[in-house]
Amino acid sequence: MEDLLRKLANEFLQRPDAECFIGYEEGPNGSVRPAFIRRPEDIHRLVWNQKCYPNLTAYLPDFPKQKRVIGITVKGCDARALRELIRAHQVERHSVYVVGLPCTGLKTPGEDRIAERCFGCVFPEAFQYDAALGPMKTPDGLARTEYETLDNLSNKERREFWKLEFEKCIRCDACRKICYACFCPECILDSTQPRWLSRRQNLGEKLFFHSVRALHLVGRCIGCGECERACPAGVRLMLLNRYLQKQLEDLFGYRGAGILEDAPPLLTFLRDDPDPFTGGFE
C-alpha cells in the first residue's frame, strides 16, 4: 500500500501545478507525524499505518487559495473535514489532489487495540478522492463500538466530572489550534474588544472557553479526536463533542459534519423544530 502511496505522490509531484504533498512520515520515538513532501527524493519517507493520527486537512487553510495544487492523504474523518472546509469556502476542491486512505481504525499509541477516538466512527471510508490506496471497506463493528459517554452520569456527577477535567486544563489552547475547523484569522477567544475571555485560570473562564469551543464546533465536529490527542492534560474533550453531536442527531436528524451536504444544523431550521420554549415553566 505504501508503494502505491509513494507512486501516487510521485506522479502528483510531477505535475507542473503541484505545490507539495502532505502525508505522514516516521517521527521521534516511534511516532508518526505530518510530512510535507516537495521533492521526489523525499517520497520514500511517506508511510501509512494505524498510527497516522493527525488530521492533515487542518493545514489546508494555511495555503494561499487558488494558486497551486496540494496533494493530501485523507482518512474517512479527514475526508469529512475536507468536505466541510470546501463548504465553508476555505479550500477549493480543484486546488487539492486527494488520496483516500482505507482506514479501518487507528491504534491506541503503544498498544494493539483500536484507539478510543475511533469508537463509534460512522464513516471511516474516505470519499471524494482523486485516487485511493485500495477499496474502501467499512470495518466491521467500528460504528457499533461503545464508547464512554456522559449518559449515565447524574447532573451532580457531570458537574463534578467537568470540574475535575477543567481543573486539569492549563489553557494552552492546543485543542483549539489543532482543530481543522478553527480557521478564523483571529479567534473570538483572543479578542480584546470585547475581552470575552481573560487569562484567569478559574472555572468560569475555563467553562467559557470550552463551551465556546464546543458550540463553535456544533455541526462542524467530525469526531476525529485531534483535540483530545493534542491536550497535554488529557481533558476528555471528545465526551463533550460527542454528546452534542448525539443531540444534533436526535433532535434535528443531523448525522455529522461532512457526511451529507446538509447545512450545519445551527445555520438552518425547520418551522416545526421541537419547541421547548412555548409553555409556562414546567
Binding site: G27, D62, A174, E186, R200, P232
Partner: protein
C-alpha cells in the same frame, strides 16, 4: 561537608507531617495519568516517581496567573496595594534536576536588575528537595546539557529512593535546616546501605550536541529549517506552556469601575497575537517567524546574553508536540549544519 542520612520507607508520611508544621509542602501528585505539583496534603498524595509533572517547577515561582497589585483610581492619582506573593515558607518535595536547572535560567531574567520582587520572595522562601533522577523518558536529554540528574546543582536537599529506603542529603543552609527538622527520622547509614546509592545511574541521552549549535543568530536566521518546521507546526503552543524555561508573560488589568487588579499570566510566543501591536502591525506574522523565535531564543539569544543555553533537556515539548516536532532533533540538525 554534609553527608547522606537514611530514612525508613514507613517513616515518610510522618516526616511530611512534621514538615507541614513549618512549611507549606508541595509535591507531585498523580491523578489518573495527570501528574502535577500540588499542595500537601490538601491536594492529594505524594507521587514519588521520576515521571515529569505536566507543568514544570516554574509554576511555583512564576505562577500561571499571578496578581501583582490592586488599585483604586482617585481623580488623577491612584492607590496601589501590592499583592502578597507568599504567606508562608514552602518546601517542594520530589523536584527533578531538569526543573531545578531551569530555575537558574529564570533567575537570570527575574533576579537580574531590576529584581522581580515576587519571584525573588518565592525563591528565597522555598526549599527544594530534589529527587535523584535516573531519567525514565525516551525524550530526556538533560545530561547533554551538563545537568547531573542524580545530584542537581541548585537543590537544597537531595533525596534518593533506593527501593528499600530513602536517602537524604542537605546541600545548602536552607536544606540543613530542613534535615534538622527531620532529625528524628534520619539515621546515619551503614556502609552496606550506602552501596545502594551507587546503583543509581543516569539514563538520559548525553549525545545531543548542543555546544555545536552556532550561537550567532545571523547564521541561523534564514535557514530553510524554519520554513519546514512552520509548515508542520500548528502553532498550538503546548511546547511553551509546559517548557520549564519559557517565561514570557502577559499583563492584564481587570478594571471594575475605578478599582481593579493587575495580574500577569503565562503567554506564548507561538500565539499569533503575542507580538501583535495596537496598530494591528505584527512583526512575527507567520508561524515561520514565531517558531524561529522560540528556538533561537533558547539556543542563541539567551546564551549570548547569559552564557547558557535556555533548554534543560527535559523533552516535555518533544513528547507532547502533536505533530512530532522535537527540540533534540532540531538541535542536532542545527549542529550538523555547522559541521
Amino acid at each position: 561537608m554534609m553527608s547522606w542520612q537514611r530514612m525508613d520507607r514507613s517513616d515518610l508520611p510522618a516526616a511530611i507531617s512534621v514538615l507541614q508544621e513549618k512549611w507549606d509542602v508541595f509535591a507531585p501528585v498523580k491523578r489518573g495519568t495527570d501528574i502535577r505539583i500540588r499542595q500537601q496534603p490538601t491536594d492529594g498524595k505524594i507521587f514519588l516517581g521520576q515521571t515529569k509533572p505536566l507543568l514544570p517547577l516554574k509554576m511555583l515561582f512564576l505562577p500561571e496567573v499571578e496578581d501583582l497589585f490592586s488599585f483604586t483610581i482617585k481623580g488623577s492619582t491612584s492607590d496601589i496595594i501590592p499583592a502578597e506573593p507568599l504567606t508562608r515558607e514552602r518546601v517542594v518535595f520530589g523536584v527533578l534536576g531538569c526543573d531545578i536547572a531551569a530555575l537558574e535560567i529564570l533567575d537570570h531574567v527575574f533576579l537580574g536588575e531590576p529584581v522581580d520582587g515576587s519571584y525573588n520572595k518565592r525563591r528565597e522562601q522555598t526549599t527544594l528537595i530534589a529527587i535523584a533522577c535516573t531519567g525514565d523518558g525516551a525524550e530526556c536529554f538533560c545530561t547533554s546539557l551538563g545537568i547531573n540528574p542524580l545530584e542537581p546543582v541548585g537543590a537544597d536537599v537531595l533525596f534518593a529512593d533506593v527501593g528499600n529506603g530513602y536517602f537524604f542529603k542537605a546541600l545548602s543552609q536552607k536544606g540543613k535546616r530542613m534535615t534538622e527538622t527531620l532529625r528524628a527520622f534520619l539515621k546515619k547509614p551503614s556502609e552496606k546501605e550506602l552501596t545502594d546509592l551507587s546503583a543509581l545511574v543516569p539514563g538520559t541521552r548525553g549525545d545531543i550536541s548542543v555546544d555545536r549549535v552556532p550561537k550567532d543568530s545571523d547564521r541561523l536566521w534564514n535557514l530553510p529549517i524554519w520554513e519546514d518546521l512552520a509548515r508542520r507546526c500548528l502553532g498550538c503552543g503546548v511546547c511553551t506552556v509546559i517548557c520549564p524555561t519559557c517565561h514570557c508573560f502577559d499583563l492584564e488589568d481587570e478594571r471594575r469601575g475605578s478599582s481593579g487588579k493587575r495580574f500577569r499570566s503565562w503567554d506564548s510566543c507561538m500565539n499569533t497575537s503575542f507580538t501583535k501591536m495596537a496598530s494591528g502591525e505584527n512583526p512575527r506574522p507567520t508561524k515561520r517567524e514565531r517558531i524561529r523565535q522560540r528556538f533561537l531564543h533558547k539556543l542563541s539569544y539567551y546564551p549570548i546574553k547569559h552564557g547558557l543555553v535556555a533548554c534543560v533537556g527535559c523533552g516535555r515539548c518533544s513528547a507532547r508536540c502533536p505533530v512530532g516536532i522535537g527540540i533534540d532533533e532540531i538541535i542536532v540538525e542545527l549542529a550538523e549544519m555547522e559541521g
